[in-house]
């Protein structure tokens, strides 16, 4: 048996004292920030499941790294960037093993993409019984991602004709050895098109929480495909049978066969009203309604708002250009009566003509909730 004293001694011997020291320093900084309006909502302490508040998202087109949502399956791994190498193996003529320095010497692209967690909005589904983190609206962010295109690596490795899928292996592991590692595979066609090996985020070296030293970014796909802490890119003839591919991340609708459920892949069109905020009070005869809209690979074609709960729709002005799969900033100058309570709704339509539903159909795991965003505010 191990007593409390032994435990405390173990804490000291195992170096937790050092960790505790840094945690105390962090706690002081955190306490200092405690009076400020929250910018991150902690939905799980560890592994980190942190959501950005709508107010913080609304401040800028690019979501700051320190405020970008975080979703990790397992504890953040300690990766020594100097010793780390990326392997490209499997169905290739010439396997590669590249250091971070070598990767930085390859041609780099710098593109803007929005990442959204597949579970964003899970907590807003009307489900009496639900599993998983109860994200609301802020498991999404927009950033500049820089690094070599995956196609650069695939060309150098000379992919064999029988390869059809690209598997991404990563450094993170669960504390229990029987938990399957987090692994994703995507079709070779998507990997060769615009998929990126990101080394930088918003101009800085990729932060540890976001996958340092390198992560995959699969534009237009939900975030689970954009593997963090990537260590190996494997070319295979079939998709992976890993738990997270074969059983996790599937749209299982009530009464349907779970074994035939479609995989969660591309992002559904969605919009977010960042101004005004829910429940606020507004003065004056007009308000500039603002927000962001994003979608999968076909991009955002249209954003509309309604100030009468969906009876009539007004096209919003798209402020930012269509860039990669970046979200688009939109606005609408709305005249106001007074006094009144306004019920605003926003809806996005993507390039394929798919529009947001008023209420998305709930699936068992609560994925891809792209129900329209509604905000009520008071005019005085």
């Amino acid at each position: 048996m191990l007593g409390r004293r032994d435990f405390l001694r173990a804490l000291g011997l195992s170096g937790v004292g050092v960790l505790a020291g840094s945690a105390l320093r962090a706690a002081r900084a955190w306490a200092k920030a405690a009076d400020a309006a929250p910018e991150l909502i902690v939905r799980n302490t560890w592994p980190e499941h942190w959501e950005t508040t709508i107010e913080a998202l609304g401040r800028a087109y690019y979501t700051a790294n320190s405020r970008f949502f975080v979703r990790s399956h397992f504890p953040v791994p300690e990766v020594d960037a100097a010793a780390w190498r990326l392997e490209v193996s499997g169905l290739v003529e010439r396997p590669l093993s590249l250091s971070l320095v070598e990767l930085k010497k390859l041609p780099q692209v710098d593109t803007v993409h929005t990442l959204e967690c597949a579970g964003n909005g899970r907590g807003l589904y009307h489900l009496p019984s639900t599993a998983g983190t109860q994200w609301e609206r802020g498991a999404v962010g927009n950033a500049r991602w820089a690094g070599p295109l995956l196609s650069t690596l695939l060309d150098r490795a000379r992919v064999k004709p029988e390869a059809r899928y690209v598997w991404f292996e990563a450094a993170d592991r669960a504390p229990l050895p029987d938990v399957p590692p987090f692994l994703r595979s995507i079709p070779l066609e998507k990997a060769s098109a615009d998929t990126l090996l990101a080394l930088r985020m918003n101009g800085d070296a990729l932060p540890r929480l976001h996958g340092a030293p390198a992560r995959i970014v699969v534009p237009g796909w939900y975030g689970m495909a954009s593997t963090k802490w990537v260590t190996r890119v494997r070319l295979e003839a079939t998709p992976s049978d890993n738990h997270w591919i074969a059983r996790g991340y599937r749209y299982v609708y009530p009464g349907e066969d779970a074994t035939k459920a479609a995989p969660v892949e591309t992002i559904r069109p969605k919009s977010l009203i960042t101004r005004p905020l829910e429940g606020c009070e507004v003065h004056g005869s007009r308000i500039r309604v603002e927000g962001f809209a994003w979608a999968g690979p076909s991009g955002v074609k249209l954003v509309e708002i309604s100030a009468d709960d969906g009876a009539t729709w007004l096209p919003a002005r798209l402020e930012s250009d269509a860039t990669g799969t970046a979200w688009r900033q939109w606005s609408y100058d709305l005249p106001l009566g007074r006094p009144e309570t306004v019920h605003l709704v926003a809806r996005a339509t993507d390039g394929s003509g798919e529009s947001q539903p008023a209420e998305a159909r709930a699936n068992a795991s609560g994925y891809a909730n792209n129900s329209m965003h509604r905000v009520s505010f008071r005019v005085d």
């Binding site: 032994d6 320093r25 920030a33 910018e39 560890w46 592994p47 599993a131």
Partner: protein, 105 residues
């Protein structure tokens, strides 16, 4: 007195919590939205011991599941390596269901 395994689990949990606490930019205001600890009750010690090997309590305290849902979760976690006795399994399921049962939605 706790078993060596329970203390080891708590040690792992402390390491992970300390790492998480110091991760990211501490000057960014954060807000916890779910109970960070399991509530008191029969089964709390089991939840502390088994659930927090891999994640903080808040991942469970934000859930709402019926008996089938919690049974499914426990079966998954047992497949992945936690080893409660049959009596502990039943006690844990009852505890989770009584505190984190289905929502009235």
């Amino acid at each position: 007195m706790w078993t060596r395994r329970a203390w080891a689990a708590l040690l792992l949990a402390s390491l992970a919590a300390a790492a998480a606490w110091s991760a990211g930019d501490a000057s960014v205001a954060r807000r916890e939205v779910y109970p960070p600890e399991f509530p008191a009750g029969d089964g709390k010690a089991l939840a502390d011991r088994y659930c927090q090997i891999c994640h903080s309590a808040s991942l469970a305290t934000q859930q709402a599941k019926d008996s089938t849902g919690w049974e499914k979760t426990l079966a998954q976690m047992e497949k992945w390596g936690i080893r409660p006795t049959p009596a502990e399994h039943d006690s844990l399921r009852r505890y989770l269901l009584s505190h984190f049962g289905p929502r009235a939605r």
